[in-house]
Symmetry: C2
Subunit: 232 residues, 2 copies
């Protein structure tokens, strides 16, 4: 009857009571890209049951992680959006996602694994220096293997869209592949190196492209993201 909890007065245990069940953190990951509808989530999270998604969304709303909102007039659709607690959780998830990158080797990649360019992008977007994006308004189209996603950087706000409808009004197109993104996320490769090696190709507005490289950290790694690193 009652929800299963660990019954421990501990920050980690309490956090896991809230977001530790199956699918919950992946729902949060989806919302890190921006507000999403119920059917968007159902589509992105292949294998989740529709009733389980509804149940998880209710739990997350009760916990104050997200809230439900109706979009302004023309669309008027119902979307789920991260609140303050949800955005803080998003930041806390970056180290965990970077840790998990170690298990993203090509060998253990199953042939039927799904891939979306939005997935690495939402974590990389968390690493963008917001101070450098206050005066910007650019749209970056990322083509990672077969998947595309559009990252819109506007006045310090970042949204990521699945690239479907809109025409090619992106300022810069970034063409690369999954393995390169994994190598960069694992800290084995810098963005500059990847560009020099031709593993990333940039096309379009040169100024916008330069700003993109500038707003991202030179090298990504767990050690650089979480402070107070253990020396040894």
């Amino acid at each position: 009857m009652t929800r299963r909890t660990y019954g421990q007065y501990c920050g980690l245990a309490r956090g896991l009571d809230v977001v530790g069940e199956r699918w919950t953190l992946l729902i949060v990951r989806e919302l890190m890209a921006g507000p999403r509808r119920y059917s968007d989530l159902l589509d992105a999270l292949d294998g989740i049951g529709t009733s389980l998604l509804a149940s998880r969304l209710r739990q997350l709303e009760d916990a104050g992680v997200l809230f439900k909102r109706r979009l302004p007039k023309p669309s008027a659709s119902l979307v789920y959006q991260l609140g303050d607690a949800g955005r803080e959780l998003a930041r806390a998830l970056v180290p965990l996602a970077l840790w998990g990158v170690r298990y993203q080797t090509n060998e253990e990649r199953q042939p039927d694994d799904t891939y979306r360019a939005e997935w690495p992008l939402v974590f990389i977007a968390q690493l963008i220096d917001r101070d450098k994006t206050q005066d910007l308004d650019y749209r970056y189209l990322f083509c990672i293997g077969d998947s595309q996603a559009l990252m819109q950087v506007r006045h310090g706000e970042i949204n990521i869209f699945e690239h479907t409808s809109d025409p090619d009004d992106a300022d810069v197109t970034i063409v690369t592949n999954e393995a390169t993104v994994v190598d960069i996320s694992a800290g084995r490769l810098t963005i500059t190196e990847a560009i020099q090696d031709g593993r990333i190709a940039l096309q379009g507005n040169d100024v916008a492209a330069a700003r993109l490289v500038d707003m991202l950290p030179e090298r990504i790694s767990l050690g650089s993201v979480v402070t107070s690193a253990i020396s040894e």
Copy 2:
């Protein structure tokens, strides 16, 4: 029969495939304090089934998060210990644990919730500046409410023990309560303020006590732990 995975080529999803199941991260938390025996874990993780613990330990060993080791002669007991991947995971868990602290309010604390001084200490220990502990060899006894734990800081290595057997050979005794630790972990209170307000009492070697305050961050908060904070 095959293990349930998300089937997504994403760092977070892959990470959760490895450590996302029930109890797994709490096992890792226990090992953050130092090597532990099977029965120690069973005792600390109230409610876990004995077969589930064995299964989780096998999964974590297969994933390279921990390894099994037999202690040197006199004791000769079998212990589980974090490996490199496990220690990196430990660092990645700190932000998540600090996020979860927001749900540690006194109102929602159930009367039968268990508490162990080791739980907050393992995360706080991760925030200790290792550069400042290289030349140290001190033992700190933390009394948090009814629970005690001993933190041994030796040449940059930190181990945390349940305070049971050994006599009071601690260099410093720190007396405080659960609420104070939560307030500090949530960033609502600095350690200095807590000492001044009498919410933390320090007894023993004054030099060792001063070094303890010095090796800890002045204020703890998610924002200070994860870099590239979103400004707004």
